[in-house]
Amino acid sequence: MSVLRVGFIVCAVVMCGASVLSTAACDRLPGRPAVEAVAAEGTAEWTTQVFNTSCRGCHAQGKEGSAVPLMDSEYWRAATDAQVVRAVLEGQGVLMPAFGPAAGGPFTPSQANALASGMRALWGGGLKPSTAISGTVQAGSADRGKSVFETACASCHGSAGSGGSAGSVTDPMYLRLISDQGLWTAVVAGRAALGSPAWNMPMPNRPSGLASAEVADVVAYLSSLRPRSASELKP
């Protein structure tokens, strides 16, 4: 019995002590969760966090990543923030998901804006969008585009349908998966790490690259080859 009594008293004392201690030192106890370090919207840290979780899986850098590498400066030379915000909020083509509220996505328009300018600050190389060429797709002539393609592009991509060392870009399956804007970006920015030239780089028969009108023409040509419906794909 006396052992019990002693145990009882010890417990009571320890409990009183513990509660007094935790009341007094509640802010300094190890279990207190650290105040969550969510970077403030628009800071470089925030941009990196958002980009790394939501975008990097498709838009990385160099050879890495399957869509246009946003961590390289090439893309940012012609693209405008408005264009980026639109792509983020509304998606683009078939394979770029919409992240805006209309699609049930997580980004508000103001967050999309902050993301666009944040990415430009990190990876844009300090450049303003070029005045020599538009960042968004422009109307052109498919007929003229065909001859641009045969002279400037076919050496790498093969003439219509055949593919070449760089693989076909006239394959209807391929064209079904990429939007006109996507084609525009592919031609304008190129992808140096994979050996794909930017529009103003030397190409066969175009020692100083393409004229901006030729870019519009060749994109119009590629666009004209795209099957309008899935049924056209069936052989």
């Binding site: 019990l4 513990a18 279990g31 399957s66 593919g163 060392s165 076909s168 209807p172 399956m173």
Partner: protein, 506 residues
């Protein structure tokens, strides 16, 4: 003077109340009823469970005043409780740790009752109410995890929904009933909130009352002695005689031991809460926060482990049937044998069963803690296709890599060791499967892989398969000579799935 002294006044007030309610007459026998003298420290676990339950109610009521049970605000409100409310985090930590402690204490209590066969006549219903209490408390723990409304909650709900889905015929209806709609959404949280704060606590309080009433009615079982068997015909009489001769009043003799044990538990609880803090909330479905690998809470980790070990084909049967069998077996225990020996030394089979169960649950919990069951939720948008799987591919194949990300294959399949581990790594898949087999796998799914047939059109499927056929160690990008004229129309006709070799070469 004497007439108005304070003690007289209090005494008069107590008498007044007693005359009208009979409260003391009701409580006194509860405190003074005789319990077996030899019921030493073995019998403290039930009281400790009750103490944790009381703590759950008190802290739970406090939390309910602070928590916002709406999908849009729940997660934020937990952060608010953690960071702004004085003692808020402590409250959450106590509620979380006490919940786990209660489950553990209940398990120990049950194990003790099982080993000592205290469930035999006349205490069969004590055991049955206890089993129902166990499941009610597990349900409380499960719905409580959902309250955090984080990735872990999603995991739990996902599993719950997939179990519901497997119910034959009514699967969809049960799922709808559980989630409040076809998918996990705001409705789901409201539904689980109602369960967690009204329905289940109500049921638990009722069952606790019943359990205690049965204990009063049947008395606390004496320590088992080998050779001292339970005979339903004579048991009660013998028990009563023994209590008169040999029993001690519950208060203060046994109660003191309970109090010391509960006090120690309480100290441990406060220390755990103070040192390890509250549980979660883990990553919320918000792109600005790094996601965590979702795991269920401790009481369910072993189920998670079992699921990860199951061969996919048996999952439906096991997930649906096992819980039912579990309940039935537990309820049946006292009806299978309610008389005879109680001492563990005379019931070696039962001791074996109990130790096997304990070991299995411990091993499965470990498995659940370490298994790579869960998909990497943001693999598709966070993990880029490595450069050596992009370099030298045709534009169509690169779009195929886009489809691979877009269709979230990466959440379950890794490349270069990064990505989900639910399915096998696909780094060298082209060496294992032909394009036709790949197409079939993706269209029809298989075991734990969903069927993508209806989600991918023919262009997406062609590009994806074409990309997968380049995933092999010996794939070589052809040397690039800028501007070189290569007479190489190697690609096959559009629309056709190319063979691995042809797709690799250009």
């Amino acid at each position: 003077m004497n007439q108005t002294s304070p003690s007289r006044l209090i005494g008069a007030a107590v008498d007044w109340v007693e005359a009208r309610t009979g409260a003391i007459a009701f409580i006194a026998p509860l405190l003074t009823h005789h319990v077996p003298r030899n019921a030493k420290w073995w019998y403290v676990f039930g009281s400790a469970t009750l103490m944790f339950f009381t703590i759950q109610i008190v802290t739970g009521v406090c939390l309910a005043t602070l928590y916002a049970p709406s999908a849009a605000e729940a997660w934020e409100s937990l952060r608010y409780i953690d960071e702004q409310v004085p003692f808020g985090w402590m409250l959450r930590a106590l509620h979380g740790w006490s919940s786990n402690a209660m489950v553990v204490m209940m398990a120990i209590h049950m194990l003790q009752v099982f080993l000592h066969a205290s469930y035999k006549f006349p205490r069969e219903l004590n055991w049955v109410t206890g089993v129902f209490l166990l499941f009610t408390v597990l349900a409380l723990a499960f719905t409580g995890q959902v309250m955090r409304w984080d990735q872990d909650a999603y995991w739990g709900l996902g599993i719950g929904a997939s179990i519901a889905d497997r119910i034959p015929v009514f699967g969809n209806q049960v799922r709808g009933l559980l989630l409040g709609g076809p998918i996990i959404g705001g409705e789901t949280l409201s539904r689980f909130f109602a369960l967690h704060v009204f329905v289940l606590p109500g049921a638990a309080i009722g069952l606790v009352g019943l359990h205690l009433a049965l204990i009063m009615k049947n008395g606390i079982s004496e320590m088992p002695k080998p050779g001292e068997t339970v005979e339903p015909a004579t048991y009660r009489e013998r028990y009563e005689k023994r209590m008169e001769k040999d029993g001690v009043p519950f208060y203060p003799d046994a109660a003191q031991r309970d109090m010391v044990f509960c006090g120690a538990c309480l100290v441990l609880l406060v220390v755990l809460a103070a040192v390890y803090g509250p549980f979660g909330p883990g990553g919320q479905p918000d792109p600005t926060l790094i996601d965590t690998n979702p795991r269920p809470d401790y009481p369910f980790l072993w189920i998670f482990g079992a699921v990860s070990l199951l061969p996919p084909a048996s999952e439906t049967a096991v997930m649906l049937v096992a819980p039912l069998v579990g309940v039935l077996v537990l309820v049946a225990v006292p009806f299978l044998s309610n008389a005879g020996e109680r001492a563990p030394s005379r019931r070696p089979g039962m001791v074996l069963i109990a130790s096997l169960a304990v070991m299995a649950i411990a091993a499965l919990t470990w498995e659940g803690k370490t298994s790579p069951w869960s998909p990497v939720m943001d693999g598709w948008s966070a993990l880029p296709t490595p450069g050596h799987f992009i370099d030298g591919r045709t534009p169509l194949q690169v779009q195929g890599a886009n489809v691979f990300q877009f269709a979230q294959c990466r959440n379950c399949h890794s490349l270069d060791g990064l990505g989900g581990e639910r399915g096998p790594a696909l780094d060298a898949i082209a060496t294992r499967m032909t394009p036709d087999q790949l197409m079939r796998q993706i269209q029809q799914g298989d075991g734990n892989m969903p069927a993508f047939g209806r989600n991918l059109d023919s262009a997406q499927m062609t590009a994806l398969v074409s990309f997968l056929t380049t995933l092999r160690p010996d794939f070589e990008a052809p040397a690039m000579i800028p501007g070189a004229q290569l007479p190489l129309p190697v690609r096959s006709m559009p629309g056709e799935v190319t063979t691995p070799v042809a797709a690799g070469t250009r």
